[in-house]
């Protein structure tokens, strides 16, 4: 029996496989396909202080080995989450993390404070990297000063595990990672989507209503791996790696690069059972390589 359990500081995961926010609904959408209790954790949909309708249609464009989205954080707001959704999902036998977004610091703080009161939510993922909202979102995650200020403010009201999701749309992601670590982030997750765009040459129009959107899927995996590796060498807090993971082999690559846990996002759309398959695949890999404990693999990339 191999050990798949990992710890993100005080947060214990039965295995390193989590889901990426915005690709897994509230978990309920996947109950027909998998047993959620087989996962290390689920990241539920991005939640904001107030209701958001999101961006107009079209919000999605398929691209080579990936997709662009411009959903724009459509959600019913944190009060609706606490009252309507939380009671329905709190019994899940896995870690439920809420992804928290905002336009101004006060929104992040108020949302985090409300979620802090929910007994069965052991952590939040602070989204300072959404490319699809006009104000806030990614703007917080692209400068060290603003990233630090939002983490500092949320840290004052949130006393459970604080994960911060980083944007790849920066010159040096390690600087942002160090800035949020200094303000008390317990872990970092990376990468959020890469800003991109797609054009229909025939109509001479953009394929997204917002013109630009966030690129995800295998197309971004090499960038994500590189950034996880860089951040692993720059900070002491655990890293949650994501970006184009489609199978167990991809997940192992992120773990070797330094990720303690991983998130699966876009792949859920193509195979709604992929998360369970990745858990099994990681276990198979460990047996093949005679690794007893997954923790012995983290950051063990062998460089000549």
């Amino acid at each position: 029996m191999v050990n798949l359990g990992v710890k993100l500081k005080d947060l214990s995961l039965k295995n390193p496989v989590m889901t990426a926010s915005g690709t897994f609904g509230f978990g309920e959408e996947f109950e027909d396909f998998i047993d959620l209790s087989n996962l290390g954790g689920i990241l539920v949909k991005g939640t904001t202080r107030h209701h958001r309708e999101g961006n107009p249609y079209p919000r999605m464009a398929e691209t080579p080995s990936g997709m662009l989205n411009a959903v724009g954080l459509q959600n019913k707001g944190v009060e609706n989450f606490c009252k309507e959704i939380y009671p329905r999902i709190k019994h899940y036998d896995t870690n439920i993390l809420v992804n928290v977004s905002g336009s101004v610091i006060e929104d992040y703080v108020e949302t985090a404070a409300m979620i802090n009161e929910l007994e069965y939510i052991p952590a939040i993922e602070l989204n300072i990297s959404c490319p699809n909202v006009k104000e806030g979102g990614m703007a917080f995650g692209t400068s060290c000063t603003s990233a630090a200020s939002v983490v500092k403010a949320v840290r004052e009201v949130y006393n459970k595990h604080l994960m911060v999701k980083l944007s790849p749309n920066v010159t040096d992601i390690t600087e942002i990672a160090k800035a949020v670590e200094a303000e008390g982030a317990d872990s970092v997750s990376l990468i959020n989507t890469l800003l991109g765009m797609a054009i229909d040459a025939e109509t001479r129009k953009p394929l997204l209503s917002t013109v630009t959107g966030g690129l995800s899927g295998p197309a971004v995996k090499p960038v994500a791996l590189r950034m996880v590796w860089q951040v692993f060498n720059a900070v002491n807090i655990p890293i949650v790696g994501l970006g184009g993971i489609m199978n167990a082999k991809d997940a192992i690559e992120f773990i070797l690069a330094g990720a303690t846990a991983i998130q699966i996002g876009t792949a859920n759309f193509i195979d709604p059972q992929v998360t369970e398959k990745v858990v099994v695949g990681i276990e198979d890999y460990m047996k093949r390589h005679n690794v007893q404990d997954i923790n012995d693999l983290i950051g063990t990339l062998q460089i000549q």
Binding site: G22, T23, F24, G25, E29, F30, D32, F33, K45, E53, G54, P56, Y57, P58, R59, M60, A61, E62, T63, P64, S65, G66, M67, N69, V71, Q74, G217, T266, N268, F269, I270, D271, P272, Q273
Partner: protein, 254 residues
Amino acid sequence: MKKLVQDFEVLQRKELNDEHFVLDVKALEPLPEIRPGQFVNVLVKDSNTTFLRRPLSIHFVDYEHNTISLYIKKIGDGTKKLGNLKEGDSLNIVYPLGNQYSIPNNANTLLVGGGCGVAPLLYLAKHLKEAGNNVTTLLGVRSEKDAVELDAYKEYGNILVTTEDGSFGEKGYPTQHSVLEKEKFDYVFTCGPEPMMKAVAAYSVQKNIPCEVSLENTMACGFGACLCCITETTEGNKCTCTEGPVFNINDLKW
């Protein structure tokens, strides 16, 4: 209704004309209940440009032979790859997805389809007839060679056709067909290009007849997780994949 992800076996591919074909696929386990208007999301293998699944209307369900028929138009690389599938090939399918058309009882119903939007109407016609309704199916196509599967629709009621070039049936668009003024309908169901559906909706509003349309938006997951395929409704954005694809026109901002 529990959603499934399963491998199906291709039984046959029937070419209808240059653009359209019907793919009959057999489930390896007994099919669940599938309602008219629902769709599947199929995985296209070996395509460099097709990353996401392809949502396709369910054209017909044959419980006796445990098969689903998919009506497909060759548009891009994904649907062209599906057009190369042969007997015995495997096709991975997520289904049954979406809501369904309403089924009234003992009413005079009109079904209007155009292009590959005719896909869900055959299975709908079957259910309507079984519920004691009178069924008239009106198909709008470009030319005689596109007027396909007429005998299949005849099993469940009247079949009428308009062609744009006048080579078969009445000349013009379906909303110009004489039956719309000659006969009084109680319900209208439509699926096809948006301009056609909007014209059908306008006719229904003018005649004060309930009307349901089936929308086709680009989608990633097909089961309500990605929030990409939204339709603007009177109650805000709704997922076309879970709260549609069938909508009553009163709920749309048309």
